[in-house]
Symmetry: C2
Subunit: 694 residues, 2 copies
């Protein structure tokens, strides 16, 4: 942990600027919490109205402080904040947590105020966490430096670090965590992320050996490079990083933007980068906490075959449905396992997966533990859900069975127990066994464990990503498209194949070129002033002989002259027409958060409808390219449909990697589309392209 | 309620065949529960081992019963069931609930056993509920006729009827319902549905004035007509019908089939019929109970604009995301409302939807109630979610605020309160205010209310569906395809447009026809023995002149003769080629559960990949056809993409309705595909078709 974060998270002294003795008020709560929870460092208060607050000497102003302190917490109106920050800086205070609001979250005026404040902070060498936050808790060292309602009860330390952009939502999530027995070692709300960001704080914590699971609620990011760097650190430390991010849809993006002024970014890009770097995305706070609990308790599955052991065939079917939706396997156990199971399971049960042990175990508890152990021993089963309901009269017995299973098996399993007695849930949790009370959520959780296990395998061998490719250039505003022929030269060495394309100066010339290429051909207008050629009738497809090439070229030239009289015309492009193959799109986007992004997906007319793409931050490795293809919903098209050959995926992956490297070395690219990229067996070739640079 | 269901659900006397005094055993529990809960009717027990059980006279056999009874509950091994049923029938007992297992749920042998049993039951005029079930509860009349663990605590009556195919899962769901304060007036487990089905029992209950919400867990259906009839009754009674059905995926279908031998059916057809008839589908038991609680408490929204009032911008953004995913609107309030809101909400909040009132209301509770009431008064807001967290120290105040809101407003709202005090939740529930503790689930619930509201509007004016169209003919095994030209005659009067198609006897003839039609044309082989023409090179597209028609026709005839030497060749079909338009599919499937089903969706190469179709049971009305189109994920294609005109939806809906009527009057159709159906503006025409009849 770097010094500044040690000063913040484990301060040996704290000053509260604007402290109050009224513990019902925002400015009174923090001091109260710190004292109540036995904070061991020195405490100072600043407020001209008081001489003393709760036994702490209160100074009238910052200058009067007898010495510098590690951490300042500022709880005053934004009107006085700039002056306070200046004085704290002068006093040598290295960092201030800023509760005050009235900054970028309130629009233009606030944005300016925030900028001005940061300027002062920088000048006087003081870091800012906030503004517009409600502080943080380091429960290990009893630093309850917050006014959050979460601290209305003393925090309980545990292996989880949670950071949130939102104070109110973060408080709710933390409270739910406590209710579910999840100990938060750290809870940090960074508000507007003006200087120190949420990711910075997590980065400071990631190597804390007391922390094993990290989660965050985020509304947007400014620093995509920092995010990826942190995700890589978390993977290397084998600490799962679970994120709930809003802004999946325009409505959420709008709402998030109006909340903390966050840049929610393009959600598909986020999802792509999350998957690329093994970040587990939780849909909502409930899903997040389900995952956190499971990650605390469970080993990580090494494969994706889920064994479902159930006392209800119905619940088994529901879990099987959900597992398949989430890409889990539900293969049957080996014949050996099934024979063994058949010895203990009643005939009206099932030894196929889901394994239905029926309610018979009420009468014969032994069959329950045996069925579980036999299943977990099966070499093909990677993880298990054990489903049951009620059994209140046998609850202690069942708890003991699970304890025994946990002791005897190294494989991850979770218990889905509908209407379990509270006492049993707690007992199991204390033994490190995860219990959940909702059938589909059990599967969602297992799927999260499996996804993380697969990410570990994929990413462990990945080299650490450099910081190249993160030129977060904002578009200069003067971006322009490159003509098709210039694009051909531009793309030389990019490693992508373009269909051979020739420029004819006139209709006669086009005819000659077409005759050399052979038919059918395609001709297109070529002009630096015309980006969307087909919309003005500038493209003719499927020309079968020299007459139609001549006629079409003449027609195109005439009509373009009428429709875009001022366009500079370079001539007519002639290409051999590619008839067979499936249309994909391969491209680059410059993302304001993550820099150059590679995208690959389904092309053709449905591109506008379905938007089935994979996104990844450039540059990518071949392993990541393979993962991009695997993540595609339209992956089946790569296998060859309607008479097309299966696409040579090796070639395709290579091409995607090459283009991603090209994107990094050509940061002037704003947008690049190879659309369509037609693939048929080994032939993977772009027949049209558009490049915009600035 | 018909007699037989009155005998079952409100019996004036019950005999338990195989009763036992051991209340820890399956055969001892039912008698114990009935006595404990104060069942008012007469009780008899049959068991040769006892003279008396818990004060009830026990008879050695059924013949010895002094009189007939309304209901028999059979708790003996399947070995003795047939005899018992025969004797009960002879004794005049109208109905038996059959707990015993060993029937169709255990495979072939059990299926035969079940058939034999039903034969006896029919002969002796006794109805069977079960086998393989765990009974039912009528909590209004204290008929706890079950051995389910749910009855370990006395059932509490309430406005909900719940029926389940699964006993164990049904028990779990019922227990969760009780835990959440949901009173189940009826809980019925029908097991194998061998005679009386789950739907039959719900139909018996639907008009019970004490019931306002109906829910079911189903694993499959045999009688689609009965299901639709019941769904229509439920809609007319304005009682929401909420169903969780497994078998969404092959894994779940397999699991369900091995459980109760249920026919899970094609899930997409189920979903289509559910939507068509206003059945709300719940993904899982948690979603089901969330919906049930909300339907008990809330009025039904009349539109889909959701107002989100939140004290956390983050939670607001998450809800906005989810709402948009579920098709809800989150429009801003009127300017008048926003001005009013601005008077009460702090400047760092938001008067746009989601409305962020911030945590400021901790200091000023008045702002909370005012913000809610102002929002609910907005004419554009149809329903509301109010989001908050913790507030334990102000909980009573908040409860009172919600009570006041409920009193003053007629609009539906639900409260999403993270980590609410248990006491407040109960208090609100008792006032008829629904509180939920998870952010996304709050939106899921509101979406269910909105969907139901829209179904009511759509279906209220629908005529009651007749029983036509339910010829559940099973394929005779000798189904055959009709040749293309015969199909043209067959489809006459069906109301669908086919592209004009002519049969040429030879290549010369084809040339002549093509010249008359004008170019480009398409030619296809026509043979009753060749269903998939293009797979054997029997289709040539885009022929531009008579020479290529002649050559192509010759080539087709030659190659077909080589590839399918024994095929009877009728000739060559000639069609004008349709160049512009978007490809759809319109078709009929004969579903084993629901009879003829109309399907409509996206066509072309991606049909195999995406399977974006709407399904509905034939016949359908124009309103239902409109709803089918609205439900399509690819709906945007109807608006015209890539230079195609917007499709004339009036024409299209008419065509779908016509075809659905045609399906009903031609029950011999096993499958009918108009694929592609090319649509461009007013031109909607099938260019290829396949019909299979038996």
């Amino acid at each position: 942990m770097s010094d500044v974060f040690r000063f913040m998270l484990c301060p040996s002294s704290i000053v509260i600027v604007g402290a109050s003795p009224d513990i019902s008020k925002l400015n009174g709560r923090t001091l109260h919490f710190l004292q109540r929870d036995g904070y061991k460092g020195k405490l100072y208060a600043i407020n001209p109205k008081y001489k003393d607050i709760a036994g702490i000497k209160c100074f009238p102003d910052i200058q009067s402080l007898p010495e510098t302190v590690d951490l300042a917490i500022i709880v005053i109106s934004h009107k006085f904040v700039a002056k306070a920050v200046l004085e704290l800086g002068k006093k040598g205070v290295p960092i201030a947590v800023l509760y005050s609001s009235g900054y970028s979250e309130v629009g233009e005026e606030g944005v300016e105020r925030e900028k001005a404040l940061l300027k002062i902070a920088k000048k006087y060498n003081i870091r800012i966490c906030g503004p517009n936050n409600l502080g943080f808790v380091n429960a290990f060292e009893n630093v309850t430096a917050t006014f959050s309602q979460y601290a209305d009860q003393p925090p309980v330390a545990g292996p989880v670090a949670f950071a949130s952009h939102s104070g109110a939502f973060g408080t709710g999530i933390s409270a739910l965590a406590r209710k579910q027995g999840i100990g938060l070692g750290y809870f940090i709300n960074t508000g507007n992320d003006s200087d120190i960001t949420l990711i910075d704080t997590l980065e400071a914590i990631v190597d804390d050996p007391r922390i094993s699971v990290i989660c965050a609620y985020i509304e947007g990011l400014d620093d995509g490079a920092g995010f990826i760097r942190f995700a890589q650190k978390a993977i290397r430390a084998e600490k799962p990083f679970i994120v709930t991010k809003v802004g999946r849809k325009p409505s959420g993006i709008r709402a998030a933007a109006s909340h903390t002024g966050a840049l929610a970014g393009e959600d598909r890009v986020f999802s792509g980068v999350f998957r690329q770097y093994g970040v587990i995305r939780a849909r909502n706070e409930e899903h997040m906490l389900d995952l956190v609990s499971a990650f605390i308790c469970c080993k990580i599955p090494t494969g994706n075959n889920l064994g479902i052991i159930t006392m209800s065939g119905g619940a088994g079917a529901l879990m099987a449905d959900r597992a398949e939706e989430l890409g889990l396997e539900i293969s049957n156990p080996t014949q050996y396992t099934r024979d063994k199971l058949a010895e203990v399971i009643p005939s009206f049960g099932s030894t196929a997966n889901p394994i239905d042990i029926t309610a018979q175990f009420l009468a014969e508890p032994k069959l329950f533990i045996e069925a579980i152990q036999i299943t977990l021993r099966d070499p093909g089963i990677d993880c298990c859900i054990i489903w049951l309901q009620l059994m209140h009269q046998r609850a202690d017995l069942i708890v003991n069975i699970f304890k025994q299973v946990k002791k005897n098996s190294g494989k991850p399993f979770i218990v889905c127990w509908l209407d379990a007695p509270e006492k049993s849930i707690n007992e199991l949790r204390n033994t490190g066994i995860y219990v959940i009370g909702a059938t589909e959520r059990a599967v969602d959780v297992i799927a999260g464990l499996v996804e993380y296990g697969q990410s570990l395998v994929r990413l462990k061998s990945e080299p650490q990503r450099g910081l190249f490719g993160f030129s977060r250039r904002t578009t200069s505003g003067v971006s322009k498209s490159i003509s098709s022929m210039d694009s051909v030269s531009f793309l030389e060495g990019s490693g992508v194949s373009l269909v051979p394309t020739y420029l004819a100066r006139n209709a006669n010339d086009a005819k000659k070129i077409a005759n050399e290429l052979g038919y059918p051909v395609v001709i297109k207008i070529e002009s630096p002033d015309i980006t969307h050629k087909s919309e003005i009738g500038g493209v003719h497809l499927g020309l079968l002989n020299e007459d139609s090439v001549y006629d079409s070229a003449t027609e195109i030239l005439t009509s373009v002259k009428q429709l875009v009289p001022n366009a500079k015309i370079d001539g007519i492009l002639v290409q051999k027409m590619i008839v067979d193959g499936i249309e994909f799109v391969l491209g680059i986007r410059r993302d304001p958060i993550f820099g150059p992004i590679v995208m690959f997906g389904l092309g053709g007319v449905f591109i506008e409808v379905f938007e089935y793409f994979s996104f990844a931050a450039a540059p990518i490795t071949v392993v990541q390219a393979a993962f991009m293809l695997d993540s595609l919903k339209s992956k089946v098209l790569l296998k060859g449909v309607r008479g097309n050959l299966p696409v040579n995926e090796q070639y395709l992956k290579k091409m995607i990697c090459n283009l991603s490297a090209f994107a990094v070395s050509n940061p002037e690219i704003v947008e690049l589309d190879l659309n369509p990229l037609v693939a048929n067996g080994d032939k993977i070739v772009a027949v049209d392209w558009l490049i915009i640079v600035d």
